[in-house]
Symmetry: C2
Subunit: 282 residues, 2 copies
């Protein structure tokens, strides 16, 4: 394959960073791949697919492209440092929220070649337990451009995304964060509350935990380090989703207490139909 | 295999009833299997694994064992009819709640040979789309005895359950309904509210719907006919779970609005640890 770059560095070897590196290794065996992480065990495991792995950002000196896959607030902190230290590289991040990251990318200057990214992929598995070279296959990978991103850099971002097996989709950062607050952040928050309620009610007896429980509880297993940054950098939208959900919960309680059987049936039928609608193309 | 019965009738060929019949067919190819349902298409499809299929309960005349796999309130209605019409058969049901069913079984008289059952299995798929002979493999199948259930009938129930591949677990009906309100009914209700909120907010754009969305939304696809009876026959426990969840949601909102970062981190870390705990043996 004739790629416009020969070397990629990945900062953060959690589920997403490690899987990005594995996917690139698979797609482009001759690519020079370097990885940075603070966890010594993880660095050791990652040597099986990286050419170089270490704690220090110096490693990035050897790479033309840098992927940022740490929690969002860490990416925010890192950007000015990287812009000053390695001003000529091309950067793509994989943080869960985009508005604050794109604002920071603008503030790092017009010469800072940065495209914001977010793969709509990932499971509740944390770190190396979640590494999977096929994690991004057929998944959407959201991309956000800076005001002055060149079309060459846009193409470069798309090339990287396609190499991982994902499909690039350009979005506005505000629209991304608004929508993800519903489609990703709210499910996570509900999931955490759900398992905590089970623990308080002493109902986490494995005999009674079937697939329904697991659907509702699974996301609670996500890396708290990652989700804390996700929620704190999308606070207003997350709050709106919580408020909306609380209103629906109140309405449901009212229907069960004082509504008719037909009211409840209507609600459940609507749920069934909406699921059929969203999965019609699956 | 030397079975203590040679014929089984299944009333209701939805996901559970159809899958029970398929599992029995697989485990005991020579068993006479009859099925009753009101849906002509479903009856036609079921002829591939049933010896007889029809709308009328008369078919049950030919079977020693009868499995009841219709929605809970239909089972409640059916029990006295069956006790009068076919008084010598052995009955096992598969309804989602157990307290009302066991009370009804007592009221049908001491001669009514009935064991209550509920397989902790099933997906959001409805009817024949959900038929799967392996649905019960390794799953728990809750069983409830009547006051005068003989040990022979208890063994019979266990034999049927094991034939389907599931593991029998004897429980008290009240304990079952209390616990399932948390582990199954609450996840379903949250899921319905979640997709309805998405529709109202116009956020059901497939580009943004990843695995997080699907986890949270999946159960909304369950048969509304089935879930309506499930909730209406477990109303008080379901209400308590909703009230509990609403309180957690309020606390979360308060933490995001006025709490510290550490408060939120503590909550997310607790969620992560609880998930690790409940999945430790997986």
């Amino acid at each position: 394959m004739n790629l416009p770059f020969r070397s990629v560095g990945v900062v953060g070897l959690g589920q997403i960073g490690g899987s990005l590196a594995q996917a690139l290794r698979e797609a482009a065996p001759n690519l020079f791949l370097a990885g940075v992480d603070v966890n010594p065990d993880r660095l050791r495991f990652a040597q099986s697919f990286l050419d170089e792995a270490g704690r220090d950002l110096n490693i990035l000196d050897q790479t033309e492209v840098v992927l940022l896959a740490t929690p969002v607030r860490h990416i925010l902190k890192l950007m000015h440092t990287l812009a000053a230290r390695f001003p000529r590289k091309f950067y793509l991040d994989a943080g869960s929220t985009k508005a604050k990251i794109m604002a920071q990318a603008e503030s790092a200057g017009t010469n800072f070649r940065f495209v914001g990214g977010h793969p709509l992929a990932g499971t509740e598995k944390v770190g190396e337990a979640g590494w999977n070279k096929n994690l991004f296959k057929e998944k959407y990978f959201f991309l956000c451009e800076k005001k002055n991103t060149s079309s060459a850099d846009k193409q470069l971002a798309e090339t990287i995304v396609r190499l991982t097996g994902a499909r690039p989709v350009w979005v506005q950062p505000g629209q991304h964060d608004l929508t993800l607050a519903y489609s990703s952040h709210l499910p996570y928050l509900l999931s955490v509350l759900y398992v905590i309620q089970g623990e308080e009610e002493q109902k986490l007896d494995p005999h009674f935990l079937g697939t329904g429980f697991k659907s509702a509880a699974r996301l609670s297993g996500s890396s708290a380090q990652m989700t804390l940054d996700m929620i704190l950098t999308n606070r207003e939208h997350a709050l709106n989703e919580i408020t909306g959900f609380a209103a629906h919960l109140k309405k449901l309680k009212e229907i069960i207490l004082n509504g008719t059987e037909e009211d409840l049936e209507k609600l459940f039928t609507e749920g069934q139909q909406l699921w059929q609608k969203v999965t019609a193309d699956d």
